[in-house]
């Protein structure tokens, strides 16, 4: 028997108890969350949801909790806080238990924001090792329009345990981007929960580049006539591990979801894609498409990809597909036959594989920054 749940929880209980009490409404949320966490502790690979991602390195580490500075949480948004992200997810529970400050953005109904909302979480602390619990809540009013860019980065060995909740009102247009460029020694576990109103148009782009051990849970709930684009790009090498669990819940009729996740794996890295699509009984005329494509550049990299369709309505269109492949030999020869060196050809084709995700990014500065980053990454990597 390895470390029992009670021992794991004990360490966290000390830090939890040491927190200053928050206002009663918040303290209640925290206590409830800690109770949920303490009931189950960290998941093991016996848990189907965590089968391919072993979080023992996180469970075993005695982290030093660093609380976000307390913020004033507007009354109007309190009803959403900790209501969207799944409360029984152990890492969400842990985040909520240490909830202190929240990054809140409210976009008034009908407002059209020219500039993207930029949210940067950076970990510079070294001692501990530290764990941070970034918490973001974005409430977009009816018919409002905005773009959100969340960035995660840091230095050294630390653990980022993030939760982001987004509520979009009727007819809103929301483009969400998450760029994860953590240190390659860091742990990163994050949940995004988006509750979308009727006829909203929502897109989320999950760009995962850094981290030693990364888990993303993306939960999107659609209403009637909602359009959702759920895209992701993960690029791993060395011994990096990234796990993307997405869940797209068609709760009402006439919803459309397009999901495209692409991964590039090199060296001894590993990745997981688990794409759940739920079409509820009422959600007739749902149109859902899921695609996961993987480019595997080495013999030792491992990818586990699994669609999970739960379709309870009968008049729907749902397609899914997954591919795992290497660089195309004919394309390589074509480029080489024009004088382009083997390594440059490899870089070019690898970069090209990621291109269609990058092309869909609607924030020009972010797109350019990522293009440059990827271009340099694949060049530096062309041995």
């Amino acid at each position: 028997m390895t470390t029992g749940v009670s021992e794991q929880v004990a360490e966290w209980l000390i830090d939890f108890s040491a927190q200053e009490d928050a206002e009663p409404w918040l303290q209640e949320i925290r206590t409830e969350a800690f109770f949920r966490f303490s009931e189950q502790g960290f998941p093991t690979t016996h848990n189907e949801e965590w089968r391919f991602t072993n979080v023992a390195p996180i469970a075993r580490t005695n982290f030093r909790n660093i609380l976000s500075p307390a913020t004033d949480i507007p009354l109007a948004v309190r009803k959403y806080l900790a209501k969207l992200a799944p409360a029984d997810h152990p890492f969400v529970a842990l985040n909520t238990a240490f909830l202190n400050g929240v990054t809140v953005h409210q976009v008034p109904a009908g407002a059209v924001l020219d500039q993207p909302i930029e949210i940067n979480y950076h970990v510079d602390e070294q001692a501990g090792p530290p764990v941070v619990h970034p918490r973001t809540l974005i409430v977009v009013g009816a018919n409002a329009q905005c773009r959100i860019v969340e960035s995660y980065s840091g230095k050294g060995r630390y653990f980022t345990n993030a939760v982001t909740e987004i509520v979009a009102g009727e007819g809103a247009v929301v483009d969400h981007y998450k760029v994860q460029r953590e240190d390659t020694s860091a742990f990163h576990v994050a949940t995004l929960a988006a509750q979308l109103g009727r006829s909203t148009s929502f897109s989320t782009h999950n760009i995962s580049l850094g981290g030693a051990l990364v888990r993303n849970d993306i939960n999107v709930v659609l209403a009637e006539g909602t359009e959702a684009i759920v895209n992701g790009l993960y690029i791993v090498n060395g011994t990096q591990h990234v796990d993307n669990h997405t869940s797209i819940d068609h709760a009402k009729p006439h919803g459309t979801s397009h999901e495209l996740y692409k991964g590039i794996l090199d060296d001894k890295s590993s990745a997981v894609f688990n794409g759940r699509i739920i079409v509820r009984k009422d959600a007739q005329k749902t149109d859902s498409k899921q695609t996961n494509k993987n480019l595997v550049l080495s013999d030792d990299a491992v990818i586990d990809t699994k669609p999970e369709l739960q379709i309870l309505a009968d008049d729907v269109r749902c397609t899914h597909g997954a591919t795992i492949g290497q660089l195309d030999a004919e394309s390589m020869f074509y480029l080489q036959s024009r004088g382009i060196g083997k390594q440059q050809a490899r870089s070019l084709l690898t970069y090209a594989f990621a291109q269609d995700i990058i092309d869909r990014i609607q924030v020009p500065a972010l797109r350019e920054q990522l293009e440059k980053f990827l271009f340099e990454k694949f060049h530096e990597h062309s041995y």
Binding site: A329, F333, Y351
Partner: protein, 257 residues
């Protein structure tokens, strides 16, 4: 000294021998047509010259400008002035035609000790060549061959050849799948590129292309060997009498032997 000297070339794919002793000598400025039925080894010869790894050379030699060509990687062959116009140009989504061709041209220029071209100079250079091939400039911004029609792909090959200015161009069934207008356009592009310094090997199944690209020599390839060589009149004889007129069986019967 000839530009290209192929001696007793043997090549296999897997366990199967496709080229069974090819001899061919090409001098600067000459256009050689290689004709032959399906499965005779024409395309294999073209790909072996360009360095396709799928084929293994099991015997013989190829000297290019007096150097052992078979030692060179595909990219080094291209840098030394060899160009293969593909029978089936490859679609490469995500790489723009412009980026691809500029990278190719600059690598080749660099290896020849020439300065690399910036975007402006490159565009100036390609504008005329695009006009020659009656290609719309918007094709430059599209991914390589992606969504191109058959004719556009073949024109794109000759356009690339015009930009890269090779010393030896190997055209692998550039006429296949083209209607007569597209064929004339491609042939016009090729003829414009004929010069005393540039040699060409034109691989084709049909004599039709050779009405527009008139070769200096015609070779008939069958069963992995050149069975007959002659002047351009040989192509006409083939047109009239067919491969059977030369005592050659078409297709798989030959390959199966």
């Amino acid at each position: 000294m000839s530009l290209l000297e192929i001696k007793d070339l043997h090549a296999t794919v897997g366990d199967r021998e496709i080229l069974k002793g090819i001899d061919l000598s090409v001098n600067a400025g000459e256009v050689h047509a290689i004709m032959g039925p399906n499965g005779s080894g024409k395309s294999t010869l073209a790909q072996v010259l360009a360095g396709r790894e799928l084929y293994t050379v099991t015997g013989g030699s190829v000297a290019y400008q007096g150097q052992d060509l078979l030692e060179l990687s595909p990219e080094d062959r291209a840098r030394a002035g060899i160009f293969l116009a593909f029978q089936y140009p490859v679609e490469i989504p995500g790489v723009s035609n412009m980026y691809f061709l500029k990278a190719a041209l600059n690598t080749i220029r660099k290896s020849q000790g020439l300065e690399e071209l910036d975007a402006f100079d490159f565009l100036t250079l390609v504008r005329d060549k695009m006009a020659l091939m009656n290609m719309d400039q918007s094709l430059l911004n599209r991914p390589v061959n992606t969504g191109f029609s058959g004719g556009e792909k073949k024109r794109n090959e000759i356009f690339q050849m015009a930009v890269l200015e090779p010393k030896l161009a190997v055209l692998d069934e550039t006429d296949s799948g083209l209607d007569i207008d597209a064929l004339k356009l491609v042939a016009h592009g090729v003829n414009t590129l004929r010069s005393p310094e540039r040699s060409m090997i034109v691989v084709t199944h049909y004599q039709r292309l050779l009405e527009y690209i008139v070769p200096d020599y015609v070779h008939v390839l069958a069963g992995g060997r050149i069975v007959k060589s002659g002047g351009k009149e040989l192509a006409l004889q083939l047109e009239k009498e067919g491969y059977a007129g030369l005592g050659i069986e078409d297709e798989d019967e030959v390959a199966a032997v």
